[in-house]
């Protein structure tokens, strides 16, 4: 993601600055959590190294641009469309590319995913050009000021929307039949199949859902930053960092991981070095995997 303008604190003291950073991190963390949850589901349940995840993120942002700016639809309607299309695109990718390869080894699926990633990003480049697209929002320009901390209305909305989606996803995983089937598949695919779960449908649903969450993250952050064709790359790598942090298939771990990454980035960028801001994610991955090859919260037995 392109580093955008972060809110500055009104207060001047260290504590005030700190508080501002915390607030910023929480906002960012909620969207990172969306990205991470989507990927951990795909990675965890299907075992696929999903290189298209970042592109779904970019897709979400560009769809927002298309609907809100080009077609001039209502902001919130555009948001819904963007997410729905994200889900659809995810399902399409799974059906066309992954389903025929079911049972192949990991390199093969990985290569196909890389191919898809190349196609998607370059299509975006072709259609939208490399010029950054900004997406305007219906929120007031003036940020909300709470003591020493200032938060823009847009970011409040992003946080709330992301939060709702996270809760929604959680409910889906735990309260619905589909979610139950997904969890069963994650735990033991063969047994789940024997119990009547249609693995094919679960895979499609998982990929579609995960992609939808990525698109949602993109659609929400698009207006905050700008939309460029390469925005997906960093997003994808951060998503992987989050998944590894939280443990494969671990929903709560991914959510938590999203916030942790956002905090590390925010604190690291402000207090250590802003140039290496994006490197934080990678360094995190490497360090975590060296210490605990299964991730920090390796309760990888269940999803959620």
């Amino acid at each position: 993601m392109v580093a955008g303008k972060q809110e500055q604190s009104r207060g001047s003291g260290f504590l005030d600055q700190l508080l501002q950073h915390v607030v910023n991190a929480v906002m960012l963390g909620s969207t990172y959590a969306l990205l991470g949850i989507g990927l951990t589901m795909i990675f965890g349940i299907m075992g696929v190294v999903n290189f298209t995840h970042g592109e779904l993120y970019a897709f979400g942002a560009y769809m927002m641009f298309l609907f809100a700016m080009v077609l001039k639809l209502n902001f919130f309607v555009a948001l819904v469309f963007a997410v729905v299309l994200g889900v659809g695109l995810g399902a399409l990718i799974e059906l066309v590319l992954l389903r025929p390869l079911r049972g192949a080894d990991i390199d093969t699926t990985m290569l196909v995913m890389i191919g898809a990633w190349i196609i998607m990003q370059n299509t975006e480049q072709l259609v939208w050009t490399g010029v950054a697209k900004s997406i305007s929002t219906p929120f007031p320009e003036e940020p909300l000021v709470l003591g020493p901390v200032s938060i823009s209305w847009l970011r409040i909305f992003v946080f709330v929307a992301a939060g709702l989606l996270i809760v929604g996803a959680q409910l889906l995983i735990h309260r619905t039949k589909l979610g139950k089937a997904m969890r069963a598949t994650f735990q033991d695919r063969d047994t789940a199949a024997l119990m009547g779960v249609s693995i094919g449908r679960i895979y499609t649903a998982t990929f579609a859902l995960g992609s939808g969450l990525a698109a949602a993250a993109g659609a929400l952050l698009g207006p905050v930053f700008v939309a460029v064709p390469t925005m997906g790359d960093l997003a994808a790598l951060k998503a992987f960092a989050i998944v590894i942090l939280g443990g494969l298939g671990n929903f709560a771990g991914a959510a938590l991981g999203g916030f942790i990454l956002a905090f590390i980035e925010e604190m690291g960028a402000s207090y250590i070095s802003s140039g290496y801001r994006d490197a934080m994610g990678f360094l995190l991955i490497i360090v975590v995997l060296m210490i605990r090859p299964t991730g920090l919260f390796a309760r990888a037995e269940r999803i959620g």
Partner: protein, 341 residues
């Protein structure tokens, strides 16, 4: 039969500058050659050892930067009072250091890969290359960051009285790349057809069985990683002294992807694969340069990659080999390791 065919091919390549008058195509061949060397190095990991290293460009970049910095000389401020100053040295020394340093990086990655497998390893290697890129980008005092290191000296020969020359320009660099390429090919071929190569392949095919007959997993993963990294570093060094300007973009993931495409379409786990793949993806972009936009080209390559995975999963070389065998000799006979193309 195969031996002299190989040398014939080399002889042909040696003759190219003599009749190819358009220096532009020579340039294309040089860049292609550099990528072929890098792809061969990736093939050792991807094709033979089964290590999904998607950070290969990291080794390439380390080789490039090391070689460039040694030949340019640099000053590194370690503390307020103490600075490490290195004078400019001949490019070939930079080459040696580039190979050593990237080989060392390979050693580190090899040791890590033993602990972390599969998809996690893929992500670690990608992260490694990205971190290197960000370091190159931000450590401006050493690498000039985005301003790039330029005026990198070309390779020179300095044997007083015998031969003193500055190997600048397309023709000399073509021969340097060809020489390194041939040596690299021979190294890989000898390694892969030996007991050590068999051990690597065994680890890829069936690790428990391999360890049960005494094959040390760590040792061979590390060996493969070191050789692979050193070779990629060599390619990087060649690139630095030919193009003579490098910036952090030399660490871009897209170059790893290019190498992966070359190896996979050519045929992973075969000796000729990276060469065939390299030629296709080195030359085709040039042919398409005037007619199609880069984005469209990349879309074609992405599509091609998917198509190969679906229809020719082992790549072009094995498919051709299979076809040839089914026409010439007994069908369905396996190709022994000692005869693998």
């Amino acid at each position: 039969m195969r031996r002299w065919l190989g040398w014939l091919w080399v002889a042909f390549l040696v003759s190219v500058p003599l009749w190819m008058t358009d220096l532009y195509y020579l340039h294309v061949l040089i860049i292609t050659g550099i990528f072929i060397i890098a792809s061969m190095s990736l093939n050792l990991l991807l094709g033979y050892t089964g290590q999904l290293n998607l950070g290969q460009v990291g080794f390439f970049g380390i080789g490039a930067y090391t070689s460039a910095l040694i030949s340019l000389g640099f000053e590194l401020k370690l503390t307020d009072n103490f600075a490490l100053a290195v004078d400019p040295h001949p490019a070939w020394l930079g080459f040696v250091f580039g190979v050593i340093l990237s080989g060392f990086a390979g050693w580190v990655v090899g040791r890590i890969s033993f602990k972390i497998r599969g998809a996690y390893f893929v992500i670690v290697t990608i992260s490694f290359a990205e971190v290197m890129r960000l370091v190159a980008l931000n450590w401006v005092s050493l690498t000039q960051g985005p301003m790039a290191l330029n005026n990198i000296p070309p390779f020179t020969v300095d044997i007083p009285g015998v031969w003193e020359a500055e190997l600048y320009g397309k023709v000399p660099n073509y021969y340097i790349v060809l020489a390194v390429g041939v040596v690299s090919y021979i190294v890989i071929r000898r390694l892969v057809r030996s007991r050590l190569g068999r051990a690597m392949i065994a680890l890829k095919e069936n690790e428990p069985l391999a360890t049960s007959v005494g094959i040390d997993v760590t040792r061979y993963l590390v060996l493969a990683a070191v050789v692979s990294a050193a070779m990629a570093g060599a390619a990087g060094s060649l690139y630095a002294h030919y193009v003579r300007i490098i910036d952090p973009d030399v660490f871009l993931f897209i170059y790893t992807v290019t190498m992966v495409i070359m190896v996979i379409t050519g045929g992973k786990g075969t000796l000729a694969g990276p060469i065939v793949g390299g030629l296709i993806f080195g030359v085709v972009p040039e042919l398409l340069r005037d007619t199609t936009r880069p984005e469209v080209q990349w879309i074609i390559y992405g599509g091609l990659m998917i198509a190969i995975v679906f229809f020719l999963p082992n790549g072009i070389v094995p498919a051709v080999h299979q076809w040839w065998r089914s026409r010439v000799s007994r069908a369905g006979v396996a190709v022994p390791l000692s005869e693998a193309p």
